[in-house]
Structures are given as structure tokens and as C-alpha cells.
């Protein structure tokens, strides 16, 4: 895996890239340099806005619409990609430099079969005929450990799962046996359990063909598994670069250290709630369905005052559906939801204002959760006005108070639109909107999964503090066990619409586990560069042991 030769494959020197917003240009990448040798894997890490994707694309001589390379050079195997005419670049792209995008589901053309998209680059670049390329595809699908490699290529993208698509995309990138592949956050959109398989497949194939790669991610633990060297970026500036082991062991810069520190936060678990105390919310034997398809089966759990219950599971496990039942968006087929001991009407339309007010929700995607045409003041003020009937100065005072509570300066933020906020700030506004209703319980649906780690950390701390101040109960939906560690008191593990296991957090993180919980737990990447290797070995051993018995 560490195979380097003396002639650098890719050299980037003093690269400056600017982006345009409202007719003004501002720097996205500010004078970054890097060198990549043949067969080497470089990890680019940083938060969103660090310019790592822009840099990765620039390594292909490509800039997105609204961006331009203002100075510097990108030299790939002797060709300057910045000044090269489009035709020269097109000749290299796809054949000698390939790209694997963050979301394979979005990056595969929905109108064509996988195999046709695979063979396109080799045929167009003239490296092989369609038939040869199609045979090669089957071979590569096999190497990527895709199921049914012979036939999977004849499916359309939507017929293949996300993890498989990501592997198919890596296979596609390999089609012309490129010298360099840019991986742009290839596993970020995947569940932890799927991520393992993709990571393993990518590492395997890069190794096999001795392909150089730039691996872009915001997840330290992931990059630790993949890269020979790591470069840290912050707002378009290079922070530091070092060999992976050295970087993990002794980061030099404060920023890098702060990145490392994020993963250490954990909340002290509250003692188990008194059984006799009436839970704020009680989900009792709920079964629910979308149309004819049942998605929840006999789900029950309680949430007590000042407690945080984390509901954990992969996508499709029914976590969010449970939240929809609680909020009344999806009336259950069977079972009921009790709030402070009394049953809530199954449909939100028949709930009273007070019932609605007391259960609030914070959404995963702050982008779609905030009306882009309303100012922060309007968004936060509306529930105050709607539920509590405050007007005029009283309303303004209360909104200011709420903004202070979420640590945003009212004078600065009241008049802003969501588009003028950062991701973390948007999420804070979402929290303020929930708080404005003065609820007793808040459902947090993956509230941190779209955020960078440092920002997510801030949000979690804020929620933690608010719970103490306002006696709130939280239902925390997440697929990220690190988040669970950081915030939960109790944990409910769900799979396929059923509750697999539930209990106090400490109990959950202590073996023995339910096998599924075990799988979830073991799949969370760790900062050890050998973690993936060890894990795969361990799992293979287990499988062997299992088959022997």
C-alpha cells in the first residue's frame, strides 16, 4: 500500500481558486501545493468549506460553474492541466484520471444501465471495444465484491443499493485503468455497516492496480484507514501535511488537534428514571404502515423528563417513522402514544394547539426545515406569536431571548435569511424555533448528521445545556453511535421496524450485545490506521470459526 516511485504523478503548485457570489470573487483555495507519486494515496481532510472538493476537482483540471483557477499550476504527468485546451483535458479525464463522487446514486445517470455507463469511457477514449469493456466490467464488479457480477451491470442505478452503487462507481472509475482516482467523500452518505464494505473494496482495488488516489473526507477515522499521507485544510488554506501515522500520533497545529478532540466528548449518563414516575411520552405497541406495507411492528418505549432517549438504527429501520407516528403525521394501525399519561389523538389535525405545542421537532436537513424566504426573526417569532399570542415588543423581546439562548446575537441575526447562515447556525435556528413553542419534549431527527464534527459538537452541547435549563425530554434519532455516546441516557436499537434492544446507555455499550447492536458498534471507524485491517481479519476469522463449527 505504500508504494512510491520517484517521478511525481501529480504536482499542484500554489493553486488559488476563486468562487463567485453575487458578482464578487472570493478565495476558495488559497495557495495550496501538493505532490502525489504513482500508487500513493493522499488523504485530504477538513470541514465543509475547507475547499477539499474544489481542490480534488482542480487536480483533474476541472472547476465547477462559478469557480475559476486564478493562479498556480496543476501538472499531471507532465501536462499542465490549468492551461490545457479542453480537448487535451477531455483526453485525460476518464482515461487517466478518474473520479468517484460522494453520492453514487446521484452521479450515475438514472437513464442508463450500469454497464453502459461503465463502457462509455473506454469506448469513447478508444481504449477498448464495448464488448471487451463489458467483460472487464464483470471482472471488476467481481473484484469489488458486488453480488451477481454477471448481471448487476444490466440494472439501472435505482435498482441497486447505495453501497453497491458506490462500489460500481469505483469499478467504473477503474474502467480505463487510470493512474489517478479522486475519491470525493465516497462513503459519507452510507450507513456505518455499509461503509465498511465499501472502504474495504476501495482499498483493495486501489492496492491491486497500484492506482494513485486522492481521498477526500471529513472523517478522520476513515482517512486513517485509506491514506498514506494526510493533508489538513481549513477554509482553503493548508494547515499541515504528514504521513498518516505521524499525523494521528502527534498533530502539530491547534486546528488539527481540535479536530482530533471532537471525538472525545461524552455526556455523563443520567441515572435510570424512576419507574413510578409518569413518562413524558410513552409509545405503546405501535404498528404502522405506508399503504399496504407495514413499517413498524409493535414498537414500545418511554421517554422521561430530563432524559435523552437515542433511537438508533440504519436507514429503513423505522426510526423516523416512529417520529412521524408520535407527531401524528402517520396515524398508527395499532397501539397508541401517551403524552403525560393521556393518549394523543392519532392524527395531528385533531390535536389541540397545546398538544401540538408540547412536542416539537428538529429536523436533519436544516436547509429544508427553514423556509428560505423567511428571516430568522420570522421563523423563530412565529411559534411565539402563534402559540403564546405575544405581539409587538413582547414578541421581539422573546425572540431575542431565544436567540441568546441558542448563542446567536439577535442584533446580527434577526433579519438574516437562512441562505445567509452557516449549517450550524441554521440548525440552531431550528432549535430556537422548537424552543419558542415552550415544549416539554423535542424530537431530534438526525440533527447533527449533516454537520461537521466541530459544529455538531457545539449543537450537542447546546442541546445538553438546554435540557438542564428547561427540563426537556429528548428523543434523539441517529445512526451515529458516536452521537449516541455523546448525548444519550437511554438507547433504543431498531432494525426493520422492530425494537431489537433497549436500555441504559452504559448497559448498551457493555457486552454482551445483541448481534445487530454488535455489528453497529463494531462498524464505527476508529482512529487506529490498522482498525479496518484488524476488523476485516476478525470478521473473517469469526466467519471461518462459524463455518467450522
Amino acid at each position: 500500500m505504500t508504494k512510491t516511485s520517484n517521478t511525481p504523478l501529480l504536482t499542484i503548485k500554489d493553486l488559488y481558486i476563486e468562487g463567485r457570489a453575487d458578482e464578487t470573487w472570493s478565495g476558495i483555495v488559497n495557495g495550496v501545493s501538493l505532490t502525489l507519486n504513482r500508487g500513493e494515496v493522499l488523504g485530504l481532510i477538513g470541514e465543509s468549506g475547507a475547499g477539499k472538493s474544489t481542490l480534488g476537482l482542480a487536480a483533474m483540471g476541472y472547476t465547477r460553474d462559478g469557480c475559476r483557477i486564478s493562479s498556480g499550476s496543476v501538472t499531471f504527468d507532465g501536462t499542465d492541466l490549468v492551461g490545457a485546451p479542453g480537448k487535451t483535458k477531455r483526453h485525460l479525464l476518464g482515461s487517466r484520471i478518474a473520479y468517484v463522487a460522494q453520492s453514487a446514486a446521484a452521479s450515475f445517470n438514472p437513464a442508463h444501465r450500469l454497464i453502459d455507463q461503465f463502457t462509455e469511457a473506454p469506448v469513447q477514449h478508444g481504449t477498448s471495444s464495448r464488448d471487451v469493456a463489458a467483460k472487464d466490467a464483470v471482472d471488476l464488479y467481481q473484484r469489488m465484491r458486488l453480488p451477481d457480477p454477471e448481471t448487476i451491470g444490466f440494472r439501472y442505478p435505482h435498482q441497486v443499493s447505495g453501497g453497491q452503487l458506490q462500489r460500481a462507481m469505483t469499478a467504473m472509475a477503474m474502467a480505463c485503468r487510470p493512474d489517478l482516482i479522486i475519491f470525493d467523500e465516497p462513503t459519507t452518505a452510507l450507513d456505518v455497516t455499509t461503509q465498511i464494505e465499501v472502504l474495504a473494496a476501495i482499498r483493495n482495488i486501489v492496492d491491486q492496480f497500484q492506482t494513485a488516489a486522492i481521498y477526500i473526507t471529513h472523517d478522520l477515522a476513515v482517512v486513517a484507514q485509506m491514506a498514506d499521507r494526510i493533508k489538513v485544510l481549513l477554509r482553503g488554506d493548508e494547515v499541515e501535511e504528514a504521513e498518516t501515522a505521524a499525523m494521528l500520533a502527534s498533530p502539530q497545529e491547534d486546528y488539527t488537534k481540535s479536530l482530533w478532540a471532537v471525538r472525545s466528548h461524552a455526556r455523563t449518563e443520567q441515572p435510570a428514571a424512576d419507574r413510578a414516575e409518569m413518562p413524558v411520552l410513552s409509545v405503546q405497541n405501535v404498528t404502522a404502515a405506508y399503504g399496504p406495507i407495514k413499517v413498524l411492528h409493535d414498537v414500545s418505549f418511554d421517554i422521561h423528563k430530563r432524559r435523552t432517549v437515542a433511537v438508533v438504527g440504519e436507514s429503513g429501520s423505522g426510526k423516523s417513522t416512529t417520529a412521524r407516528v408520535i407527531t401524528g403525521l402517520l396515524p398508527p394501525l395499532e397501539g397508541q402514544v401517551l403524552f403525560n399519561g393521556s393518549a394523543l389523538p392519532p392524527n395531528y389535525k385533531t390535536r389541540s394547539g397545546d398538544q401540538l405545542r408540547k412536542v416539537q421537532m428538529i429536523y436533519q436537513m436544516a436547509d429544508t426545515a427553514l423556509n428560505p424566504k423567511q428571516t430568522v426573526g420570522q421563523i423563530v417569532g412565529r411559534p411565539v406569536q402563534f402559540y403564546l399570542g405575544l405581539r409587538g415588543q413582547a414578541l421581539r423581546d422573546r425572540v431575542a431571548e431565544l436567540l441568546n439562548m441558542i448563542e446567536l446575537e439577535p442584533g446580527d441575526f434577526l433579519e438574516r435569511l437562512p441562505s445567509e447562515l452557516s449549517g450550524g447556525q441554521k440548525q440552531r435556528v431550528g432549535i430556537a424555533r422548537a424552543l419558542a413553542a415552550e415544549p416539554q419534549m423535542i424530537i431530534c431527527d438526525e440533527v447533527t448528521s449533516a454537520l461537521d464534527q466541530i459544529v455538531a459538537e457545539g449543537i450537542l452541547k447546546l442541546l445538553d445545556r438546554l435540557q438542564g435549563e428547561l427540563d426537556l425530554a429528548y428523543m434523539f434519532i441517529t445512526h451515529d453511535l458516536a452521537t449516541v455516546k455523546a448525548i444519550a441516557d437511554e438507547v433504543v436499537v431498531m432494525q426493520s421496524g422492530k425494537v431489537i434492544e433497549q436500555g441504559q446507555k452504559s448497559a448498551m455499550f457493555t457486552p454482551p450485545h445483541d448481534p445487530y447492536t454488535e455489528l453497529l458498534l463494531s462498524s464505527v471507524p476508529e482512529m487506529d490506521p490498522d482498525w479496518l485491517t484488524d476488523l476485516l481479519k476478525r470478521r473473517a476469522d469469526d466467519a471461518n470459526a462459524y463455518s467450522k463449527t
Binding site: D22, Y348, M361, A369, N371, K373, F386
Partner: protein, 311 residues
């Protein structure tokens, strides 16, 4: 006709016209950037030349429409001289078949045509957009019912439907506005509904619903602002099509008729002249075309902004 003018001369004329248009647009944009407060100035700075040209033309039309009585040298219906006087002299663009000043008629035409088109489009949007948004938000049988009604209305050819309604209710300007608005509102309904369908699945709409917000708030405060861009773009197009509808109706004898000056009918009434190479009907037709192009340039720019493409 064209045969007497060499092709290259036409090309030169076109180039000169194009250059002048670009220069005007540039000057206009510069003036707006310099003179207007922050928000507008910022908007103007992001305008391509085509859009600022469009905006300039629209402003000129609005100005002409608003101040027609002060700009026009004669009265709208005033018979000022002999028929078909040539261009120049007291009558800038000559006189029409009744001896009315053509230039004056064109200016009043701006007022009537743009006014009628605006009123019609506005009505069509008030009806169509609100019902369309409502259908998307409420869903269920109301959506089904409204959609079916719209389907049925759209299944009747627009021109013939207009012909029937105008014959039943009479061809006053008010009726024409109402009828064209009704027909256009079905098209607006479909657009508004489909746009709103994409918005109602947003989390902030769910949040508002869960808050227990009423229908009015949902439609007016939450959805409408977000559906504005495509609706405004459609507004621009519909606005232009109203001229065509009026002029098609006047072809069937149901348009706005003299003495009211409107471009659609002016094209119709003078159209025969084009057979003899007389360019008179090109004036009102050109006025419509220029406005259409201008409006669409602005619309293109707005859609471009809304699409988030940055090239």
C-alpha cells in the same frame, strides 16, 4: 421590399441596432447601479446585458403607458388629418385609416394593451395560483375536483371557448379580461400546483402543519414566497400571450375594437397592408414583439438565478 435592399445592408443595420441596444442596456445598468440603494444596485450588478435591456424596455413601456396623455401629441380618438399621411412632419408615424395620428395610437396602445394584459394576467394568477397552491396543500378530493375541472376547461380549445363566452356575455373589455383570465388561469393552476407539490414535501411545511397553522398561512406565508420564481416567470410569458389572444380574437371579430387603441387590434386592422409591402402593421406587431423579447430576457435571467446555475 427586402429585395431592393442588399442583404449586407440589412446585416449592417442589424449590427448597428444590436450595438445600440447593448449600449443602452449597459448605460441603463450602470445608471441603476450608481443611483439605486444597496439591494437594487446589487441585483442590477448581477444582471446580464440582455436582462438589463429587457428591464429598460419594460420600464420605458410602463412609463409610456402611465403617462400616455402627456407624451402623446394628440388625443387617442382624435381625428387629426387626412388618412394615410406619410411619416414625418406633424405626424411622426403618419396617420391611420381614419386620419388618426399613428404615433399617438401606438402610445395609447401601450397604455390599453399593457393595462389590459396586466389586469388579465394578474386576475389569471390570482385565481389560478391560489387555487393551484390550495389544491397542492389540501390535496384529497379538493385537489382531485379542481384538477378535473381544469382538465375539462383545458380540453376545450381556448380560442373557441373564448369565442363562446364572449359571444354569450358580450365583447366589452371587462368581459374580455375576465374570459382570457379564466382560460389562462387553468394553465397557471397546473403550473402552480406542480410547483407547490414540490414545496409541500419540505420539512418547513411539515413544521408549520405540525404547529397547527391554518390553510391561509400555509399558502400565503410559507408556500407562495417559495413558488414565486417560476410563477413570475410564467407571469411574464402569459402577459405576452394575452396580446396574442386579443389579436386572435380580433381576427374572429371579437377583439378590442376601435376607437380604443390596442396593438393586437391595430395589427389586425392594418395587417392587409403588409401584402403590399407597407410596414405600418409592423409597428404595433414590433411593439408587441419587443415587449415579449424584453419580458422573456428578464424572465430568463430570473429563472437562471432561481436555478442556481452560475455560468
Amino acid at each position: 421590399m427586402a429585395s431592393s435592399t442588399p442583404v449586407w445592408m440589412i446585416l449592417i443595420y442589424c449590427t448597428i441596432a444590436f450595438g445600440c441596444a447593448a449600449a443602452c442596456a449597459f448605460a441603463f445598468r450602470t445608471a441603476v447601479i450608481a443611483s439605486m440603494p444597496g439591494q437594487v444596485s446589487k441585483l442590477a450588478r448581477s444582471m446580464p446585458l440582455s436582462a438589463s435591456f429587457g428591464a429598460l424596455i419594460i420600464l420605458i413601456y410602463v412609463f409610456v403607458a402611465l403617462f400616455a396623455p402627456w407624451i402623446a401629441p394628440f388625443g387617442e380618438r382624435e381625428v387629426v388629418g387626412a388618412q394615410y399621411l406619410p411619416w414625418g412632419g406633424d405626424y411622426l408615424l403618419g396617420t391611420d385609416d381614419l386620419g388618426r395620428d399613428m404615433f399617438t395610437r401606438l402610445i395609447y396602445g401601450a397604455r390599453n394593451t399593457v393595462g389590459i394584459a396586466f389586469a388579465t394576467t394578474l386576475l389569471a394568477f390570482l385565481g389560478g395560483a391560489i387555487l393551484g397552491l390550495l389544491a397542492a396543500v389540501v390535496g384529497g378530493w379538493i385537489d382531485e375536483l379542481l384538477s378535473r375541472i381544469v382538465d375539462i376547461l383545458m380540453a376545450i380549445p381556448a380560442l373557441i371557448f373564448a369565442l363562446l363566452l364572449l359571444t354569450i356575455f358580450g365583447t366589452s373589455i371587462v368581459n374580455m379580461i375576465l374570459v382570457i383570465a379564466l382560460i389562462d388561469s387553468t394553465r397557471v393552476f397546473r403550473l402552480a400546483r406542480s410547483v407547490a407539490m414540490n414545496i409541500v414535501v419540505m420539512d418547513y411545511i411539515e413544521a408549520a402543519r405540525l404547529r397547527g397553522e391554518g390553510l391561509g398561512y400555509l399558502v400565503v406565508r410559507e408556500i407562495l414566497p417559495n413558488a414565486a420564481a417560476p410563477l413570475i416567470a410564467e407571469f411574464g410569458l402569459r402577459f405576452c400571450f394575452v396580446f396574442l389572444s386579443i389579436s386572435a380574437l380580433s381576427f374572429l371579430g371579437l377583439g378590442i375594437q376601435p376607437p380604443t387603441a390596442d396593438w393586437g387590434s391595430m395589427v389586425r386592422n392594418n395587417a392587409t397592408l403588409i401584402t403590399f409591402g407597407d410596414v405600418t402593421p409592423l409597428l404595433p406587431a414590433g411593439a408587441i414583439a419587443l415587449l415579449t423579447v424584453a419580458v422573456n430576457f428578464v424572465v430568463d435571467w430570473m429563472l437562471h438565478r432561481a436555478s442556481g446555475l452560475k455560468e
